[in-house]
Symmetry: D2
Subunit: 377 residues, 4 copies
């Protein structure tokens, strides 16, 4: 069996989730390749050594540059802060590595495009960590839409709202600055819902958006009186037009009190509708217009082994899946895609397309007009 | 006790709801005036006679022109199709009547303005039937916001989606034509959510909208092969900016499969949030950021006698209120407002302001740009 | 059209609800008789006069004895405290009146039986105010069960929990004493769920119950230091066996923090299930085993005009019905039953059957064994 | 760091879940011992070899007898069918192994007691796989109750309903026979809710129960015309009395259409209440009587890093945990308990206590009377 040797860069919030998925995937799924947790790079060799031990990687790399050049690595997995994705991915591609990178793919569409084109030219495989579309509930939604069960999609409402910066006393961290994060809520959160819109409905052709920094200054450090300027948006929304004629609305916020994991979508079709919220990630609501008039209603589908990918986690319906299980599906796709040479999606091209939509929203806001996504390079 | 003599024009869907409210209000509330169901006008004297008998009115008018001129009528209640509101209201005002009219107030903002100004000059009282803001849940939301419990409002999401025209086999009726209905979903449904936004957040200063006729042709009659053109929008949405700086999104549709009474709002404040859907009209969800971090969560407030207006209907909390109960609160406001000379709201001025927002959305769609509500006369 | 002249005894909490229903019913429904709010009796002639005026009754009776003897009354409507139902109903029956009485019908099954037999012998019509089974949602549940859509009923879970006495500082009122209330939560609340079980599943043959006074002493008056003994149960539950073989569980409490209107049922059948809670009184959840395996789920049916009785209140689906609307359906049944000589249900015989089940639960608790409902007289 | 070498017997439904937890635990938690997946036994050496490879165990045992005797094993993990637990556990204990066994611990209380006493005498540690009480939501419920936030517990409603045998065409499998499964729904499902009642409220002193085999015969094999007798109960319920005075109701069913993972509890206290259903495993509803009267309501606590154990899985609140994550917490307890000599719970003594309650329900049903749990040996 072909081995797939992973080199992980970064072991914070999301890097740990990758490590959990690497541990779980070979037990849960009958992978088509042999997953090897080969090496881990961190901000310092010491930290790398500690985390490699904790997370079960075979060795620590001195730094990320060593890792991307390591001939015994097949896939470079980039879980570093956003602003480093571009440089690291290009380096990895230069060394002929497949690249698995977290979202947002880059700080802007131009960088993302460069990365997607480099990967295409190099013939390496890529995958972006839009894990919410790996939720079996999303696959089920896709299956329902693709099968025509709700007819032609006429409207998409999508939101990704959270409240991690709702408290004005929360200090400014890397999310708040253009240099480190690029966009604010759009890049951190809306990237997911744009990808979901692409997955479920199709490509977005035009946008018209608005955005706002609600809390323009924050403490420099926890408890500090010193205030620093927040450089990117706390909340944004946009009207969108899909290439296939469907219309929609997108919303995002990082200051939306009470929304903890508010990735939500409502897909309205000519014959039915779907409704989902990630806070109840194991259920999907389906309405079918062809039910008898006095028996119509949204039905709550609890995920079970009769739905995509679920059975690998549990043989019992309704028993529940969690955040890391989505990453585990993603890792399954990665390993199988590389070992068995299957197509991978969402790839860097999709990461670029998502970035274009986000950049188009920003331009639309600045220019106070509709923007065709094609206007963004 | 001063009597308030009602003359009702129209006894269809919404006219009947008014009649139920007139029957209920004097028993439920200790009204400050004596409500008299004086006269009823309909499309024909025969129909008027029958409906007056059925709905408990003292006499039938020959037609609406006789009714508005009747010296024994204090209030003209207009429940006719939209396109007649303007003419009827102006006639009633000329005769010095107070006017209670259904929404949308008129086919467009210009007409609505004329009505509002006529009423102001004549010194008569007016009320528009935006009954959803009379729901005790809305009054409770207002109380919570006004008391600062969720801080400063930073975002408003509002929708009014239904599916009464979702089936393409449903024939075109008066809702579908400009001459009879004016706007489509915007006028019929979004009028409510715009009024709610005004009530809960404040005036809307600017909008940027999009709209679409999803099903451009419909059968002329039930089962007919003849198709006629639908002249107004099936779905629309808009980004809005409030005068006080809050931002928001509005959505409306009459083809949204599965949404039966989808008036929904989420008000996000700097210290909390509110969430409501009319399909569960007797509950309001409240999130408070100042709850302890490990005990935070949206709490479901079931309406009860400790909330505004509810106790009049039932002494038991959570026992439930219904659609007609909202109209009964509205009628209470009407009778008390006239008998005790209290201010009435939403009055024709508000009806005009709602129309301006709707017309601004249409203009914005046509011109593909943001429109200041002030641009509309 | 035959007139049906009502004499109402009592105008407190539930008497007012009757008055609202009397006001609403003739407007909402095309009644088969002419409803006349003829007379009202109260604890004093003065109170009766005031309430008659407020609630729209033609005259006040000196006392209930005068009212039940009044030849110009067709129906005596008993909304007095529980302990008076027996004497009043027997007197009304002696005068040949039809009787509409609130639940619980009597303080015990023996009294209820006497009332039911007296009514049968006198040939008068009777109706007991179990209004929750008049909810269109309950009628819809009945329709679904009767049509075999969920197969044969195998299990019934029913609860009626509230929290009106959850606070130990709430003083003892008439609910707490045997002389005035008879049973506690069983009589006040569980009577409803027993009636619902009869309606939806069938007669209960045997019970095994447990009950408890959770707060054995309460202040004699609000704020008082004097404590008095609570004489009846705060909470109770029972296992039941239906005559048709189905099994079930009943629960009731008046000290169940957070349950405001916790009448809840889950009916499990061999091919599906229904789930309902009165706190969301306008929706019923239906699960059908014959949906495709990957599309199964409880569907939320929002009440609408395609369901029983709803259209009378509103032509729009999902627009909502309230507590008093149930009473209005009940009054429709009353008037039509008397005017058109249709059968009425739940009648006094059903009131007696409910009392037998409750008394059987008490006996079962005292004797620590299963009790056949037939053991109760 | 002390190593903890696991020998797993059985790799079906639940054995696989253990394997996932073994893979995940060392990455998710900072375990206090080094977990070694040492050996795996199955029905045949060939199957054992295959599964060891798939699930990442170092070696395959020839059979379970070899595994329990293996000096290089510290913990025997029993995931075999119920009827084998007793013999295997006693053998493992004889060899001085710690034992981690799935529920129900044994086919009856007598066997469970023998196992618990053998373990106590041998001084080995034991753990029973009641994984639902390892859900952070259950730990949060325990924290809330123990902290007095809902006052004194006065009532517990607990259910574990599923529908895996709801279809009468589903063939009889090992669950249906006394020899292989012992009890039916009581052993397979209610064991969990009894354990949860013990955890959240305290020991159960007395029970009175009812049970029924709803579908008495089933096909011998899928599609077969041959019918065989089902020997144990499809549904059961019981009234319970806790040693501390609280009362309660338990329900269980394996034929409850629509309930996929219907482990549900409602804990009512003198000052508040908790409500939970495993189908929404990452949320707990809390009602507090001391909230202001007009702001009371069940609040939905979404699990997050501020709650017990959650942070190990994800740093983001509301991001969700799944079925296997509960097992991972269980494995964390196992490894830490053994490596750091911490107490383990639920241990075999608890497994025995649960079995006693279940056997008491059966006896109560047979004898038609209340049974003190102490009557069961």
């Amino acid at each position: 069996m072909k081995q797939v040797r992973i080199g992980l860069i970064g072991s914070g919030y999301i890097g740990r989730a990758h490590a959990v998925a690497y541990a779980q995937a070979p037990v849960v799924f009958a992978l088509q390749g042999r997953l090897v947790k080969a090496a881990l790079a961190e901000a310092s060799p010491e930290l790398a050594a500690r985390r490699a031990r904790e997370l079960g990687f075979l060795r620590a790399a001195a730094d990320w540059r060593e890792l991307v050049a390591d001939p015994d690595i097949d896939v470079v997995d980039i879980c570093s802060p956003n602003f480093l994705h571009h440089e690291m991915a290009l380096a990895a591609i230069r060394h002929g590595k497949h690249v698995y990178a977290e979202k947002p793919l880059a700080l802007n569409a131009a960088d993302a495009r460069e990365m997607a084109e480099a990967a295409r030219r190099a013939g390496v495989k890529t995958l972006v960590g839009f894990n919410y579309m790996k939720n079996p509930a999303a696959s089920l939604a896709k299956e329902i839409i693709a099968g025509g069960e709700i007819g032609e999609v006429i409207h998409f409402y999508g939101a990704h709202n959270e409240d991690y910066l709702a408290d004005p006393r929360t200090p400014a961290d890397w999310h708040c600055f253009k240099r480190t994060a690029g966009l604010g809520a759009l890049g951190d959160l809306a990237a997911h819902i744009v990808n979901m819109a692409h997955y479920l409905v199709g490509e977005i052709a035009g946008v018209c958006g608005d955005m706002q920094t609600v809390i323009p200054q924050r403490p420099a450090r926890s408890g500090s009186d010193e205030l620093v300027r927040v450089e990117n948006e706390d909340q944004a929304h946009a009207m969108v037009r899909f290439a296939n004629g469907a219309r929609g609305v997108l919303e995002t916020s990082r200051v939306a009190c009470g929304r903890k994991m508010g990735l939500t979508y409502v897909v309205t079709g000519s014959k039915g509708a779907l409704s989902f919220t990630q806070e109840r990630m194991a259920e999907l609501k389906l309405y079918r217009q062809d039910d008898p008039a006095n028996r119509q209603g949204f039905r709550t589908l609890l995920l079970g082994p009769q739905h995509p990918d679920y059975a690998a986690f549990c043989a019992g319906a309704g028993h529940g899946i969690g955040f890391n299980d989505q990453k585990t599906v993603e890792v399954r796709d990665l390993i199988d895609g590389i070992a068995a040479e299957l197509p991978l999606w969402p790839d860097f091209a999709e990461g670029w397309k998502v970035s274009r939509v986000l950049d188009a929203i920003v331009l639309s806001h600045q220019a106070s007009r509709w923007v065709a996504v094609d206007e963004i390079g």
